[in-house]
Symmetry: C2
Subunit: 336 residues, 2 copies
């Protein structure tokens, strides 16, 4: 099949990538997962024909060595089930990216996102969605309601990550929230947090991206006009290490700081404000897909303005180049 | 009066320290607090004759420049009210160390520990307890039950700080908790967290201090025998920056890390585990005195074994030297 392949040094388009995912041992993660599950029956999987896939900042980090991943990248997708359990046959689906072993404490507590033996689509030991087909455990799939377009559904994964914040903390109407970062994740977080009735301010340094956020009804502030002040909740979604000091200073005593950016490397940071002000710092990663799909179906969030361009899969290398350019918005790949 | 005085460079014993605390403008923090409270009546204060005062790691940090404090240090004390509101006349008391302005949002929400205009006894713009007398807002005082000795009551402040953890998180019997640090605060935290029914392990590197913790019924592990494993809750109370990486690695996914050490300077640390494992990091500082006094009165915690020596106030400089020696336990000062 056609696929983009990262070999640890170079990203290339491969017109004849072996469809390894159809071979059971590999399909289920190779020896690692087989070892972990022992002789239990393997969980049912589905083969999804990818309609659209999104290039995410994490993908760009992978091309800098993050996670040491090799294989087909890509973890944001919408597609049609080509093969799999009957209930999904021919259905349009999106999919959660963490493949749990199904056999550990975390999986038993329905926390497969934190399974210590997990594979992660396009990130850790599992081929991803920058390809004609992707293999996904059926338990990870969610059927897409008809009134959601492919161009909207492909945002389900990052939108779910934004909804994770609401699953982690209780926001009340009138709470003052600062979202730091005007990129794609910052935009989605600002829109989602606003649904709680909180007063959301987005802080960024790109006039065009701030304008995009402002259109959704969120108050925006350009970093160059920033006056230090304090918020009940601050969300760090800048994707850079430098924002952390400002973020800690912008949380009121006993307030909450949500960390959304996974940044490789070490921070040089004073953590004393966390103790002195008794701040609650919460790491936040993947989130609930049903909430994301509901919000898209109900038109509560607006995602398509974030799309910058759609490339055919064959031009995937150029698409990734484009996604890495400063100021780029969401770049999508269309394999079909 | 007699007092220990830190002038920013040197700690000395002053037999004739001006009892500034009896002059109203200074007593209430000088122009800063007077300005903050405007023309409102000043909150009633008490003059406490100090019976015992404890030297704490924060004091040692102050002598390295922390907070830029100048004046009489000391914030752990037990004493007798020499002058003040009738309800406290002649009573034996301990006192909370944060003096709120009484007029801001934080104070109105009963959070004077987080008042932005606060003075902090012996730490920030207010003379402390290494003296014959200390001036304290009456609202900060707590009467000490008769069955608690002075040597026990002087631990009320650090013990309250340990109870703060239970005020911040819900521990369940059977929860696995790791307390990092076998010093005074680590010891108190381990004892207090055990009251919740949690399974507490203390990690340290001083055989004698670990033995002291073990006597309270807490499981102990020497750092040299440490095998990486994961806990529901980890409390960082080592007082050093180096423990943070180990601490983050010892928290299970979605677990909690309590930061107890206020460490000056910057950490060099990777925060990615916080995001990937969705860890909840909570800063924890001063705590509820009533809980501390109740636990002491009910003999639920054991504090006097932590005492290494009691010095007369006149030998206070030598006492501070002793407190700074590696392996030192709690050093107390007796002004009378």
């Amino acid at each position: 099949m056609r696929a983009l392949v990262w070999d640890g040094r170079e990203l290339r388009f491969d017109p004849f990538y072996p469809p390894l995912l159809f071979k059971p041992a590999i399909e289920d993660g190779g020896s690692k997962i087989v070892g972990a599950t022992g002789s239990r029956p393997l969980p049912p999987r589905a083969i999804v024909k990818v309609q659209l896939a999104g290039i995410c900042s994490t993908d760009l980090q992978i091309f800098k060595g993050y996670m040491g991943f090799k294989g087909v990248p890509g973890h944001e997708f919408v597609g049609t089930v080509a093969d799999g359990p009957n209930e999904f046959a021919g259905k349009r689906v999106v999919g959660e990216i963490n493949f749990g072993c199904g056999n550990c404490d975390a999986c038993r507590r329905d926390l497969r996102r934190h399974c210590p033996n997990r594979l992660v689509m396009g990130i850790l030991n599992a081929d991803g969605a920058f390809a004609e087909y992707v293999s996904v455990p059926a338990a990870n799939l969610h059927v897409v309601p008809e009134n959601i377009s492919d161009e909207e559904a492909v945002f389900a994964e990052p939108l779910a990550a934004a909804f994770e914040i609401l699953a982690q903390i209780q926001l009340s109407p009138g709470d003052e929230v600062l979202v730091m970062g005007d990129g794609k994740l910052g935009n989605l977080c600002a829109q989602v947090l606003r649904l709680s009735g909180a007063k959301v301010t987005a802080l960024g340094k790109h006039a065009d991206k701030l304008a995009l956020i402002k259109k959704t009804g969120v108050r925006t502030v350009d970093l160059k006009d920033w006056q230090p002040c304090q918020f009940d909740v601050v969300v760090e979604a800048t994707g850079s290490a430098s924002g952390l000091e400002l973020a800690l200073g912008a949380v009121r005593p006993r307030g909450t700081l949500i960390l959304k950016s996974t940044i490789a490397g070490k921070h040089q940071v004073s953590l004393a404000p966390i103790v002195i002000n008794e701040i609650n710092v919460i790491g936040s990663r993947c989130g609930p897909f049903p909430d994301a799909l509901e919000a898209l179906a109900a038109r509560q969030v607006s995602v398509t303005p974030l799309i910058q361009a759609i490339y055919p899969l064959n031009d995937g290398v150029a698409a990734v180049d484009h996604a890495g350019k400063p100021g780029a918005r969401k770049i999508l790949l269309r394999p079909t």
